[in-house]
């Protein structure tokens, strides 16, 4: 079946669109929808580019209420700020969101904007401003961000050292679906920072027993138990400490630290055998982890305490071998970073397609430098620098592509100029002739329309006489004049005859007047249609003629300017990437060197302890041999 598309179909469209909560309702503007399409895929550059253009065009319109974006303009401006925020353009995002806040917008949108502005200030560590932004929230708050606002407020208070205020907010968040576990943990930390030790321990214990299947909540539960266990360990409450450390999952992100601390807690109460259990597990784990490295030394230390010096010596030997291998690896990593491989690995496209790309870096060949950088990669400053470096790499790629396109555009313009430039003068000449003929016809048409309109108000039968009738009427007038010049007797007779003739003609003209006027009107209407078609074709020709010129004229200057801007931006990006990359490399090398120094220190200890264990093992063997 073939359907005819008409404007009436418009109403049916997009009514049923599934839209994001921020853009709820019927979507009337396709270009705004296109920006959302890119934003939902995380392509914020493309989303911003389109939405920026759409809003700019909307602002240029004389009657914006007729534009399809009009009904969405508040939402679009809000989204602009949101996209800028997500594209890490905090300066522009702040401006855009402030504009929304100051505009006459819906209460819900204004409150959402205030929350986002507060987040920007929080991320920039401007706590006073963040709080001011939150305090602007008034009236109806979108349900989806109510807990976000409270959690942010609590964190701002914590960062400002206002623990009591934070405690009050966090208490109200304990039942939150989204933040329950995190709020419980943070409440414990707030108590702790406020010096309320027993309340902190009680709260952390509660947070450490949360019932959940959510991986991030499970992690925060482990974290609560780890903090609780560590506090008790530092307070020499070793048995109690063990109780909490043992609650931590063995496959969670805090298990290594928990195993290490559990071993030390057992050691502290003199239960050396029990200490070997978590440390044995830990010593077989990923060797780059600092807890594992400590366990490699701690395990033989425990065996030494158990007087199993032979086993202690073997484990010290193993630790020494592993530390040497790791030091070697770290040296290679430092060299690799200095050769630029770290930055090359970071910008690999296949890695960035994966949301767990930081983890995957470890598994890639030729990127040993990432083994020891997980903590560094997770730090806020490094993340900011890294994201900026990746964004710059993206921009560089875009600019390179655009730069390559200029030659093609210029060639296209040149080909068009070569094609049209010789043709157009002749076409213009022909058009000029045609144009003058058309103008004449348009004038004639106009005159006929006027005559028809005049006849409707003031009947003039003679005007509708046929050419023959007009000729007869003319002839009668001539004969009348000639008769008037002759003698009277002849005149009277002839005049009577002429009068009769004229009377017959006038009778015909008057009796057929309405019929003739109808026919005349019908013909004029037919002519109207024909003239409208001619006018359309004329207009189309004019547009096409303009388009022919526009297809090659007026590109040179903007293209040259854009080429220069692309070139300048590319140079600037190269400089920024070099500086940003260097900073990342320096940080990575510092981290690796610090880890290497740490391992070298461990190696020295292991070497000394190995010798000591051999001595003790030999002495023990000698004593055994000497015994009867």
């Amino acid at each position: 079946m073939v359907f005819r598309i008409s404007n009436s179909a418009l109403g049916l469209l997009f009514v049923l669109l599934a839209v994001a909560p921020a853009h709820a309702g019927e979507l009337n503007d396709l270009y705004f929808g296109e920006a959302i399409y890119y934003a939902r895929q995380g392509q914020f550059f493309e989303a911003l580019e389109r939405l920026d253009t759409e809003i700019w065009q909307h602002d240029q319109i004389d009657e914006p209420e007729l534009d399809s974006l009009f009904v969405h303009i508040d939402d679009a401006e809000f989204s602009l700020g949101d996209f800028e925020l997500r594209y890490r353009m905090h300066h522009r995002a702040g401006r855009a969101i402030r504009a929304v806040l100051e505009g006459a917008v819906d209460e819900v949108i204004r409150n959402d904007a205030a929350y986002r502005l507060a987040r920007i200030h929080f991320q920039k560590q401007q706590m006073e401003d963040a709080l001011l932004a939150l305090n602007r929230i008034d009236g109806e708050v979108p349900h989806s961000i109510r807990d976000d606002i409270a959690f942010l407020r609590a964190n701002i208070y914590l960062a400002q050292g206002k623990q009591l205020e934070s405690v009050e907010v966090l208490k109200n968040l304990q039942g939150s679906d989204e933040y329950g576990g995190f709020a419980a943990y943070n409440l414990g930390i707030a108590y702790l920072q406020d010096g309320q030790r027993s309340a902190a321990l009680e709260q952390l214990e509660k947070a450490g027993q949360a019932k959940t299947d959510d991986p991030s909540e499970l992690a925060i539960r482990d974290k609560s138990n780890l903090v609780l266990g560590t506090i008790l360990l530092e307070d020499n409450e070793f048995e109690r400490s063990l109780q909490y450390l043992n609650r931590i999952r063995l496959d969670g992100p805090f298990s290594n630290q928990a195993l290490l601390s559990a071993g030390w807690a057992s050691m502290s109460i003199g239960d050396f055998e029990r200490a070997t259990v978590p440390w044995s597990i830990l010593a077989d784990r990923e060797v780059t982890d600092s807890a594992t490295q400590e366990a490699l030394l701690a395990l033989p230390y425990a065996y030494g305490k158990l007087n199993v010096h032979g086993r202690a010596a073997i484990n010290y030997g193993r630790a020494l071998d592993l530390f040497s291998a790791e030091i070697q690896k770290l040296n290679s990593s430092v060299d690799s970073i200095r050769e630029g491989h770290f930055l090359e690995a970071l910008v690999r496209e296949e890695i960035r397609q994966n949301k767990d790309w930081v983890i995957r870096l470890r598994t890639l060949p030729q990127t040993p430098e990432t083994y020891y950088l997980m903590e560094l990669l997770a730090s806020h400053d490094f993340q900011t620098g890294l994201q900026n470096y990746l964004d710059l790499a993206d921009l560089r790629r875009k600019l390179k592509t655009w730069s390559g396109g200029f030659d093609a555009f210029e060639e296209m313009v040149e080909i068009r100029a070569d094609h049209y430039a010789p043709l157009l003068p002749e076409v213009d000449e022909q058009f000029r002739k045609l144009d003058s003929r058309m103008r004449l016809r348009f004038a004639q048409h106009k005159m006929l329309v006027k005559r028809r309109d005049d006849l409707l108000t003031m009947p003039r039968p003679n005007f509708l006489a046929t050419p023959d009738e007009q000729a007869i009427l003319g002839r009668i007038e001539i004969v009348e004049a000639q008769i008037a010049a002759l003698d009277v007797s002849t005149n009277e007779k002839n005049l009577r005859r002429l009068k009769r003739l004229k009377g017959i003609l006038n009778y015909t003209l008057r009796t057929e007047y309405h019929e003739r006027l109808t026919e005349f009107d019908k013909n004029v209407r037919g002519l109207d249609q024909a003239m409208a078609m001619v006018q359309d074709e004329y207009d189309e020709y004019v547009r096409i003629r303009q388009a022919a010129t526009h297809s090659y004229v007026g590109y040179g200057k903007p293209m040259r300017r854009l080429r220069a801007e692309v070139q300048q931006s590319a140079e600037k990006i190269e400089q920024l990437m070099a500086r940003q990359g260097h900073l990342l490399e320096v940080l990575a090398i510092e981290e690796l060197v610090a880890r290497r120094n740490h391992l070298e220190n461990y190696g020295d200890k292991a070497r000394f302890a190995l010798a000591d264990s051999y001595d003790r093992a030999t002495q023990a063997q000698a004593r055994l041999d000497d015994s009867p």
Binding site: M1, V2, F3, R4, I5, A9, L12, L13, F14, L16, A18, L27, L30, G33, E34, I36, Y37, Y38, A39, R40, Q41, L48, E49, D52, T53, Y87, R88, F151, N155, A159, Y179, F182, Y185, I189, Q257, S290, E375, L376, A378, F382, T384, G385, N388, D391, L392, K398, W402, G405, M412, I544, A547, Y555, V566, S569, I573, L576, L583, V586, L587, E590
Partner: protein, 175 residues
Amino acid sequence: MSNLLCCSLLLLLAGSPISSTAQELSGDSMRSLDGQVQAIKSDVLSIASELNTLEERLLFPSHTQISLFVSIAEDDEFRLDAVKLEIDGELATHHIYSFKELDALQNGGVQRIYTGNLTTGDHQLNVTMIGKLRNGKDFNESSSFVFTKGVKPKVLGITLAGPGFGTNAIQVGDW
């Protein structure tokens, strides 16, 4: 949420081996660079916008330009896999959707699937969508529409839905 959480979580995390002075210095440098990166992003966005406008003018003059947009109706029973568009019997585009693209469409996104040039007058658009139903069965639907291209740029919106919408599974509207 992750940043906020991160801040709280890191309160008690063991410190990095890097000295605090080095961290402060690098933090200052990072922040200074961050401002410059934001400025260059703004510059490049402005270039992109201007370049796109210029490119559109050059490649798709307004009197011949036609743009086709695709959106999908809210329909849990149906998953869109691909769309094929033909204009006057000629293949205009055949798009296979990635998970991210589909998610974007399901959340209010509108895809500009095709931009091209057409002469003025009547044309026929054939829309074919291929997808899967919730029960795993394949779902195919095709419809043809006639539209008139005038001297102004033509914009058509195509809305796709599952079999629950009957004969309205594919709708095309002038914009």
